[in-house]
Point group: C2
Chain length 327, copies 2
């Protein structure tokens, strides 16, 4: 497979450099440490990050009303603690820092170490771990297999709103603990991602799909012969319905996420199938968004995120205006 | 190849339905005629459209400061005149209508016929034909091979701004005639698009690229063995440089457009190569934007658009705030 890059080692820097050039005036860059950020005069700094290859996550969500900084690691590899620590130094104005971390062992390890170091330097830091992937139905909430995937973008948006309106670090942590347990995502692959100079992570037959895949090439729970968008919608929707135990009149937010190489037309066709299923169950879709929000590089596939809106404020947070390029 | 759709015949309707549902309150839909629009109290209505399969073009650009309506045809097939005429009826508030049309024979034919009918019904209509594709170096400005491609999105933005600040239909036509001759685009494919139930339009070797391709599977001008992003950047940049005759100190806007299946990381790496070439030539990049703005469905590839900013107002127009989901 052809990849439009030069040297793999400098691809991340080239990407961040040109992204910040596009958004100069609004966003700043620490090129050495792969950080995109902006300066807030007051309010909690929200820092997220992880491996590269998931664009537009996370730098596309840096801006007023969403993240304060993103830190990029290498392809599918989280950033080192010193880089995260540098993002803390660049953005903490004294009101503290909240890390929003996708639940992968190595991501959690890097951010935990950075938290320790930042606290030792006098910063107030809290950490929120997003673990929305329900592909492995494990009852341990923070089991290693309950990965952090596309739902993380909703967490950025909700927490970004509450930070913007002045909530404290302690309050943000309470808010996160309130909605994250109700945030579920399930994905399906039509093809594996393929990184530069790397083999495909798994192979699928010409007409096969793979349910429950992760965003780093992790394998799914079942392969099946592909028929239609509706077939995929029914599988993903029903799994989330069962976990949420949808009841008539309840309020939900949905995110339909293209995993990289899925045409927007197909993402919206799938969305239409989800909407029709929600109508049958008489649940309220108070918020819905479709797009390539957290990709698995060039994977063909889609994921469905469903958040139960246990508080009307969460809908307000999702609908609020924001100054981020890719929300 | 697998496509996340159900029946090909209703895919466009499903897509438009779910897009409008996402943007309800801000945008309206005429589902029968495949129109996404909003109501302007005053000012010229800007209507664009064309075949589907180029998402987010054009519905992603409907909103305050950009298009007033978009009309979708079938996949890679322009809409019929009666649908365009319907968009005129829905959005003309008496200040007239400007059609922004990509230069393909059938698109021009459909919009010309709609213009005739709209004028017969008493509407004031002007038409702007975007012909930015320079892959065939033909001196006839409106030659059939001088197609309308990604530069069309810059035309939406510039004309949308001037419509928003109250320019008349006649003035908008004059403005379009001023910048469109300086709007050039050139693309390269790493793979052919592949529509549902259709074969690939052309085939490329495992390590081959194709310069000068169109957005509907039209063939390019040269195949070459692929080496790097820099190689592609040099080919596209130098062709545009030669046509514009770049001179030190001149002002330009660039659009780097992913053609569908190209990861954002690769788009930004390519952008970085373009920036470096522009620095060598000492031209000013006053505006730059990278993203999948006008796709060729699931084609892997990229295009480079370069607009010479003959008036500082064009930069202001490109930078102005806008209420469109995909700008």
């Amino acid at each position: 497979m052809k990849h439009i890059i030069n040297d793999k080692k400098i691809a991340i820097e080239a990407m961040l450099h040109s992204y910040q050039f596009e958004h100069q005036g609004r966003l700043s860059i620490d090129l050495k440490d792969h950080i995109i950020y902006y300066k807030k005069d007051s309010g909690v700094s929200l820092i997220s990050g992880g491996g590269s290859g998931h664009e537009p996550a996370h730098f596309g969500y840096v801006g007023k009303g969403m993240l304060t900084a993103s830190v990029n690691g290498a392809l599918f590899t989280p950033p080192y603690p010193d880089r995260i620590m540098r993002a803390v130094e660049l953005t903490d104005n004294g009101d503290g820092v909240l890390f929003i971390v996708k639940n992968f062992a190595s991501d959690v390890e890097m951010f935990t170490e950075a938290k320790k170091r930042a606290e030792a330097s006098g910063h107030k830091v809290e950490m929120v771990i997003v673990c929305d992937d329900v592909s492995v139905e494990n009852k341990d909430t923070y089991s290693k297999r309950k990965r952090g995937v596309a739902g993380t973008v909703l967490a950025h948006k909700i927490l970004g709103y509450f930070s913007q309106i002045g909530k404290s670090l302690t309050e943000l942590k309470v808010i996160a603990d309130e909605f994250i347990p109700h945030l579920y995502t399930l994905g399906v692959a039509l093809s594996s991602a393929e990184l530069p100079n790397t083999d495909r992570f798994f192979s699928l037959g010409e007409n096969e799909v793979y349910y429950g895949i992760g965003i780093h090439g992790e394998k799914g729970y079942r392969k099946e012969s592909f028929e239609s968008s509706e077939q995929l919608a029914i599988e993903l929707y029903n799994k989330l319905k069962k976990l949420h135990q949808f009841k008539q009149g309840e309020h939900y937010a949905f995110l339909i996420n293209g995993l990289g190489a899925t045409p927007l037309l197909e993402q919206y066709v799938f969305t239409h199938d989800i909407q029709r299923l929600a109508v049958l169950d008489k649940i309220n879709i108070d918020f819905i968004k479709t797009g390539t929000q957290l990709s698995s590089y060039n994977m063909q596939g889609i994921s469905l995120t469903c958040l139960k809106l246990t508080d009307p404020l969460f809908e307000i947070a999702l609908q609020a205006d924001v100054d981020a390029s890719h929300w």
